[in-house]
Symmetry: C2
Subunit: 422 residues, 2 copies
């Protein structure tokens, strides 16, 4: 069945009936020209599903969007990078609403039919004076061209070094159905229900309950399995818009088509999730931590996450050092049930530890694996049947350097001339 899913070009405008655009407003810094405000709209009515951050500190746009999703059939998303509109109080809520209202007015739709997503610095007021005047231009540029979807992928980037777009095509009852997506990541990546920003469009016809089920499932197998720095963002949002424009028959629960659609959606999300880790801030390694043989799924997950988040494990991968003792240490403090004496650890299938002790593999063989850009760590507990995996990265001196100083600099860039502050 997997064979009739094919990769296609483009992102959010790859499915039929979606238009997109992006403009530059200088949100982060008035003097820097880059795309930082994006719009996606479906011409047809949309069935929407979403997952939001579980961080209790929620950005204003997350609050506004969650309300709009509950109250209405949304059909458009306005998104910006450069400012998270988080910890901005009542003014932040007013600004998020204004973004929805102005774009809705231009589009001739209702304010509550528009979702708002923001990503960037926490705690700075939105430069609405630079954003609002650009919205007519944003609406003017709307187009179904693939290049416009790509503009959106560029406009939501912050510390990302490359845009992240995926699109696939499947067949539902003989008719082609497309799923297109873009995402941004790079920092504050530690998933819980959803992480980062990800916009997915599809021209499939599908009911709301079945779409939400597919989204929740797919997020659990993708974005909830990645970690870069262990910090979970205030703005994480994954949205999926399904508009039925393919003309294919409606996907209903429990059918072969529902399964095929969910698999394709999971495939799209896993691809984006891996792209996010691979483009993590100053990352040099992509590491798949796979735990098997755990007593329960929960225990397998505890171990995979402890290893994937351990500063010392991540430092050793950066140093291309097969330091399996640090992996054992993290397994030990993960909280999972283990028996030290039955634990095996492999790097790409090469044994580093057997029965909780050093295997007799020469260090040079292990080092050859850790020198690769991407490798897998297999941890076998020999206690049961449960498995779990997490995609993660190394921790580099450059990551720390990159994240040393931000607030003072950004604040200075944003308020220049407006406040008596150095």
């Amino acid at each position: 069945m997997a064979t009739d899913r094919k990769s296609i070009r483009g992102g959010v405008t790859a499915p039929l009936g979606f238009r997109a655009s992006a403009v530059g407003c200088g949100i982060k810094d008035a003097s820097v020209e880059r795309l930082d405000l994006a719009l996606i709209i479906s011409d047809e009515p949309v069935v929407a599903a979403a997952t939001f951050t579980t961080n209790k500190v929620k950005a204003a746009p997350v609050r506004v969007s969650a309300l709009h999703l509950r109250k209405s059939n949304v059909k458009a998303i306005i998104a910006n990078s450069g400012n998270a509109n988080a910890c901005t109080g009542p003014q932040g809520i007013a600004d998020a609403r204004t973004m929805a209202r102005v774009v809705a007015r231009q589009l001739g739709i209702l304010q509550r039919e528009v979702l708002v997503c923001s990503t960037g610095m926490i705690g700075l007021p939105m430069p609405m004076a630079r954003i609002e005047p650009k919205i007519p231009d944003l609406v003017q540029r709307l187009s179904p061209r693939l290049a416009n979807g790509s503009d959106v992928a560029h406009a939501i980037m912050t510390s990302d070094t490359r845009p992240k777009e995926v699109a696939v095509e499947i067949e539902i009852d003989g008719k082609p159905v497309r799923i297109g997506a873009c995402a941004k990541g790079a920092g504050m990546i530690d998933p819980n229900m959803a992480t980062m920003l990800c916009f997915i469009t599809t021209d499939a016809a599908i009911g709301k309950a079945e779409l939400q089920r597919a989204v929740t499932d797919s997020v659990e197998r993708s974005f909830n399995r990645i970690t870069i720095d262990g910090d979970m963002s205030t703005n994480d949002t994954v949205t999926v818009f399904a508009n039925g424009a393919s003309g294919a028959k409606r996907i209903t629960s429990g059918t072969k088509e529902a399964e095929k659609f969910t698999k394709a959606l999971t495939h799209v999300m896993v691809k984006l999730a891996k792209m996010i880790v691979a483009d993590g801030e100053r990352v040099t390694k992509f590491v798949d931590v796979r735990v098997r043989g755990a007593a329960t799924y929960h225990h397998a997950r505890l171990i995979a996450e402890a290893v994937a988040k351990s500063s010392l494990c991540k430092c050793s991968w950066n140093g291309e050092d097969a330091n399996w003792g640090r992996i054992m240490d993290a397994i030990g403090y993960s909280g999972a049930r283990i028996r030290e004496e039955t634990i095996d650890i492999y790097f790409d299938g090469v044994a580093a530890a057997r029965n909780g002790m050093a295997a007799d593999t020469p260090v040079s063989k292990l080092r050859a694996v850790v020198k690769k850009h991407a490798f897998t760590i297999n941890i076998d507990l020999h206690l049961g049947e449960a498995n779990y995996n997490v995609y993660t990265s190394d921790l580099s001196p450059e990551y720390v350097d990159f994240n040393r100083s931000e607030y003072s600099m950004w604040k200075k860039a944003q308020i220049e001339g407006t406040e008596n502050d150095e």
Copy 2:
């Protein structure tokens, strides 16, 4: 009452009736000369209490020592740095037992009266051929001199840049009573019941139950409140030996003397805990994260630990950047009950955020605090009466660099000439 506690010189040999010594065996690297094997003994019978790591992967000496403590009245400790004797299987247990047996035979005491503590690299076999022959010399050098206590503090260092010794004197019923201690830390520091190695001696007379209560209390207020890298070691041990050699009357539960003794013990542990954080691997900042106004003690703790462990908060402190948005983010994902709108954040009393939003303090004023070597972050939730604090450090590019490569190098140093491995 605090006024009659005074700091005195020395460490574990400051109290009466304790002798100590240290020698160099080249445990980590045969070609490097430094003290790495230490011995502490009480001439009088000892009442002992201890806390051990809660990591489920436990080093061989932790297993052996816990057994000896349960079965016997211990009176001596042999400790080494350079090799953790962890993940070393049955041979590791045999080696730890051999260390206890050989030292006991030399001292004319029972094997089970000796505790064994090791710290260093995980997963390498103990170089017993270099350790055993040095034990007679170690016993020969035993002396109650303050310098010998100091030798022990040096001998247990790994990545520590300076030894950590504390001693105080209090009065119990008119007689002077002393508490002396040394500790090692620097890396894999994230406490749970106990962390790192810490040896404490006292010439107080005290019952076992009361001593254990005092130790558990003091550990909870000191070593359980520090974090450097969030990785919890396999070898953590805190031991307290009380030998009654002061001649002061026996301290019993619920008395003024018991309170005074516990306070002094807590003081010693907090001082060592702070020294450990301040000497964390490549640390440049000492940060006291204080949470107040939480609904419960548990919630206050969740928040203090989330902020203290956040990679992004730690990076910003390294960059001397008052990025309070990252603190808000960590508060939000800590799992604690909060109301974003009532959260205030201060840096050494200077408001960074009020009511969940930026305070109107100029950035330059906040930056002046973060530029200091040590500062306090106060987080007020305005929800209740519960408080908690954690001592932590920044995360530096140099920390990552320092921890990039270790295993290959150490393994090479240890096995040179013995195996056909690069």
